[in-house]
């Protein structure tokens, strides 16, 4: 086997050929598709590829006069490059039943990567999709930086290695078949898991699985299929886990049957991140029906019982002395004042009759990325080792931190990655896994920890409050300068790049490390996608006392909303139509194409009644481009709809969204991600935020936190996946949010005649009666039989 350094010799690196054209088909395509992989020793055929064999994407053809950093090196390049120093293998195994199996070192949280990965393997192996089984790999510390699921990077970073491993398997099968059938590899045809010789003799992959197995490891050179020959990749394909999902068979963490892991919940403090001092009635609670254990831990008081219902009863019965958390007494208003105090001065721009400055100052309130599947984990901690099960996007650092917490060597902690019921950034951290491990150790028993919804909503991580100021200078029909300054409560990146080295760097004292990380992420993701002369974008973060993290699309939704609202103001200043203005200042042909597509398909400019309007916006990130055109109805008949325990308000009635993500592995999955991003954008613009009052967030459940519901969602949604000239995939999971949010904001401004300056627009009115903080979780109702329908 060649050493990893051989593979990193630039001469062997794909996509680095001198003279290669930046986009489109190239005369060097054959070289771009040739890689080294391995056949590994095993009972059946095991084919492998180095996970760092990343096909470098071509440099953008559209270089503006002064390129912003993300255009030449973006967050995905950083995540991909972070993986380069490691040399570790991902393996496709051919089983005797003719199936192929693969452990994906990423987390499936609903974004569809098990499906797209299975498609890549099926394509390269010439095997039907239902014969490819993709599962999630447990924590593999040797992968170092390369087991982080984030930044919409999965497909970008694994596209080539997964294909190489599958291609190696195919070649080994063909070689074994050639011996068996007495022919040459070149004379054989592989299709549908069967290899056939010219004379008609055939053998199945299952029959070859053992014969193709190797006694030792060897390196082989393979050539990947040309994109032109793809039969499955690029075809709209249904999810591989869909049957399990619709039959209730899909298991999430709390569904797993781990022996002895009884339901466990935590009683938490009445102020955010408050800590327990003592339990006044432990014996009484221990004697309640079904209760097996009560234990004080660092985050609260844990209870373990026969059922979660009895955990709820026990949590509510606990009488605990608490120490206030670090934001006791604080509210939205006090935190906003601190954020404003941390703002950098904006440069003074001219405001004269000749050079006019347009400006805006926007506030974005705290938002929650609580998923349907609350924070949960199973932990079985024994004196000599521990086993953890949880939905984890950074399992290596989780393993390392849990080992630290338990006082064990990391190799004594086995961390299994479970399919999660949504993430939206939440599962980059491992709060429940760490807590479950601590509880299991304290109780001396296996635990199935589930956060109550009230805790998941109030204490779980979210998107920090921030302000975004924008100013732009106009001279005649040109924009000379565009400045944008984001100031926010800190976004926690202490998961680092998924292992403890960079996580520790992010955890340096006084937030210095995390700020460096935050600024890096900001710099690598943010750009102003217009030709606006001198562009400056800055980030200032302050206040590390909140439970935050990357919420789907991190900084981009807020930055794009502020930017696009000012773009509409600039258009108005120049007396231009918002769509035509965006065309005029756009030189990126991919962005122009998505913009024109939504304008045409969404009937931009059509006559609409007063109180309704269209809004249009664009975004560029994750190596893709998107545009969104929405129609909104702000008329009283719509905003005045009365629905119990709900927010109605303005309704987005129609959405037309176009995305060019590069090569779309599964257009149907991509469309689904955009549909989800649209609903996120609507929620961020109109309905969903967290209210901090007296040291705690008020939102305790889904009747308080108003994520988009059926009565808010647009009845008419059209997602257009653009044919792309790009031959490599971009990111999909987060790409739908920013343009949607911005288009809704712009439409609302046009429908009402007033540009909103805070988001969501309804934050000023509290639309619910807050639930109590003591006890910290609500009791379940008893009237369910009176509410059948």
């Amino acid at each position: 086997m060649p050493s990893s350094s051989d593979l990193h010799d630039p001469a062997h690196e794909p996509g680095r050929e001198p003279g290669r054209e930046p986009t489109g088909r190239t005369p060097y395509a054959l070289d771009r598709r040739r890689f080294v992989g391995y056949v590994l020793g095993g009972a059946t055929l095991v084919a492998a590829a180095d996970l760092v064999l990343v096909d470098a994407p071509p440099a953008g053809a559209e270089i503006p006069t002064v390129p912003q950093i993300p255009e030449v090196y973006d967050l995905n390049d950083m995540l991909t490059d972070a993986a380069r120093p490691t040399a570790n293998l991902i393996k496709v195994t051919i089983n005797e039943d003719g199936t192929a199996s693969f452990e994906l070192p990423r987390a499936e949280v609903g974004q569809g990567i098990t499906t797209s990965t299975a498609m890549l393997i099926a394509e390269e192996l010439d095997l039907p999709l239902d014969r490819v089984h993709v599962t999630l790999a447990p924590a593999r510390p040797e992968l170092l930086f390369n087991q982080l699921t984030g930044g919409s990077n999965t497909t970008i970073s694994t596209y080539t290695p997964v294909r190489v491993a599958a291609a190696v398997a195919r070649l080994a099968l063909l070689e074994a078949a050639a011996i068996l059938l007495g022919d040459t590899v070149g004379g054989l045809v592989a299709k549908g898991g069967v290899i056939t010789a010219p004379g008609g003799a055939s053998v199945t992959y299952g029959e070859l699985a053992v014969k193709a197995a190797a006694s030792g490891d060897r390196a082989v050179e393979v050539q990947l299929k040309s994109e032109d020959d793809f039969a499955l990749v690029g075809q709209p394909t249904n999810r591989v886990d869909a049957v399990a999902a619709v039959t209730g068979a899909k298991d999430f963490t709390t569904d797993l049957d781990v022996p002895g892991a009884l339901p466990t919940m935590v009683c938490r403090a009445p102020t955010l991140n408050g800590t327990p001092v003592s339990v006044r009635n432990q014996a009484q609670v221990e004697s309640m029906p079904g209760i097996t254990h009560v234990a004080q831990v660092s985050t609260g008081v844990a209870v373990r019982a026969e059922t979660f219902g009895q955990c709820i009863d026990a949590v509510r019965a606990l009488d605990v002395a608490w120490k206030d958390g670090p934001v006791a007494g604080e509210s939205d208003a006090t935190i906003l004042r601190k954020v404003r105090a941390a703002q950098l001065p904006m440069p003074r721009l001219p405001d004269t009759p000749l050079a006019q400055t347009v400006s805006g100052d926007f506030t974005f309130w705290f938002r929650s990325n609580s998923a349907m599947d609350t924070n949960s984990a199973i932990a079985d901690v024994r004196p000599d080792g521990a086993t953890i099960w949880a939905g984890l996007k950074s399992p290596i650092v989780a393993q390392q931190q849990i080992a630290l917490k338990l006082g064990m060597a990391p190799d004594k902690v086995k961390v299994n990655v479970v399919t999660a019921g949504g993430s939206f950034g939440r599962r980059l951290f491992f709060d429940a896994a760490l807590e479950a491990a601590e509880i299991s150790q304290a109780m001396g028993a296996p635990v199935r920890l589930m956060w109550h919804r009230a805790d998941d909503a109030r204490v779980g991580r979210g998107h920090p409050l921030g302000t975004c100021r924008v100013q732009a200078t106009v001279v005649g029909t040109n924009v000379l300068a565009f400045n944008q300054s984001l100031t926010c409560v800190e976004t926690d990146f202490r998961h680092g790049l998924g292992e403890i080295i960079t996580a520790a760097a992010a955890d340096l004292p006084a937030g210095v490390g995390n700020l460096g990380f935050a600024e890096t992420i900001f710099t690598l993701t943010q750009e102003v996608p217009y030709d606006f002369g001198a562009v400056v974008q800055t980030l200032v973060e302050t206040d590390d006392r909140f439970n935050t993290g990357s919420m789907r699309n991190i900084y981009s939704p807020d930055v794009r909303v502020a930017g696009e609202l000012i773009v509409d103001k600039l258009a108005a200043k120049m007396k231009m139509d918002p769509y035509q203005f965006r065309r005029k200042f756009q030189r990126n042909p991919r962005l122009l194409a998505v913009l024109d597509t939504v304008a045409q398909a969404g009937e931009w400019g059509r006559a609409m009644p007063a109180g309704t309007a269209q809004g249009i916006a664009i975004h560029k990130e994750y190596k893709g481009v998107s545009a969104c055109l929405v129609e909104i109805d702000t008329r009283p008949a719509t905003t005045g709809r009365e629905i119990r325990n709900a927010v109605t308000g303005p309704r987005v009635t129609r959405v037309t969204f176009a995305i060019d993500v590069g090569l779309a592995i599964n257009p149907r999955g991509l469309e689904a991600q955009m549909q989800g991003g649209i609903n996120d954008g609507i929620a961020l613009a109109l309905t969903s935020s967290m209210h901090l009052r007296d040291g705690h967030f008020l939102e305790g459940s889904w009747d308080n936190y108003f994520y988009t519901r059926q009565w808010n969602t647009p009845p008419d949604v059209r997602v257009i996946v653009m044919p792309s000239e790009e031959t490599v995939p971009g990111g999909a999971g987060e790409a739908g949010v920013a343009a949607s949010f911005a288009a809704v904001a712009c439409a609302y401004a046009r429908a009402t005649g007033t540009m909103p300056t805070e988001f969501p627009i309804n934050h000023g009115q509290l639309s619910f009666e807050p639930k109590p903080f003591t006890p910290p979780i609500p009791q379940s109702p008893t009237d369910g039989l009176e509410l059948t329908s």
Partner: protein, 164 residues
């Protein structure tokens, strides 16, 4: 400890558990029926939606002691058996589940059992009232999907209603 007897997915079961434990936990923690999901515990998210005697309800809001021995609970696991084999589709599932598959609705999948059970009950209700599913009917569905699969849910319900 009190004995609780009721019918779940066609089978009569008896469980030793206190009267006030909500049915959701009896199903999930005692009987191992995990299709109904926990999402809030206060009957607002509807992730646990199942059927009782053919109507949609939320087991998180029903103390198990309120059930009678002949009350029939249907969870997502028992939905296919609610129709004749001839009415089932390519995957041997209920027409609404088949519509869900054809529309590729699920993303993370966590809320989907509840969504499907709510959809079946809604279609039955509209049908009892002699109507067909409209946008206004779809707007009344309270089940939350944090992945935002609402667009495909609406299509699947119209599709499923036509097959039911």
């Amino acid at each position: 400890m009190p004995e609780q007897t009721f019918i779940v997915n066609g089978e009569r079961v008896t469980v030793d558990v206190e009267d006030d434990v909500r049915l959701l936990w009896v199903l999930r923690d005692r009987l191992g029926i995990t299709g109904p999901k926990y999402g809030c515990g206060i009957n607002v998210c509807k992730a646990c939606t199942s059927h009782i005697n053919g109507k949609a309800f939320n087991p998180c809001a029903v103390p198990v002691g309120k059930l009678g021995a002949d009350d029939e609970i249907t969870t997502i696991e028992g939905l296919p058996d609610q129709v004749e084999p001839s009415q089932r589709g390519d995957h041997d599932l209920h027409p609404m589940q088949e519509a869900w598959l054809d529309q590729d609705v699920a993303q993370c999948g966590y809320c989907q059992p509840g969504q499907i059970m709510a959809a079946v009950a809604l279609v039955n209700k509209v049908s009892r009232e002699g109507g067909t599913i409209t946008d206004a009917d779809l707007d009344t569905i309270r089940n939350i999907c944090r992945c935002g699969t609402y667009t495909r849910i609406r299509k699947a319900i119209v599709d499923g209603a036509a097959r039911m």
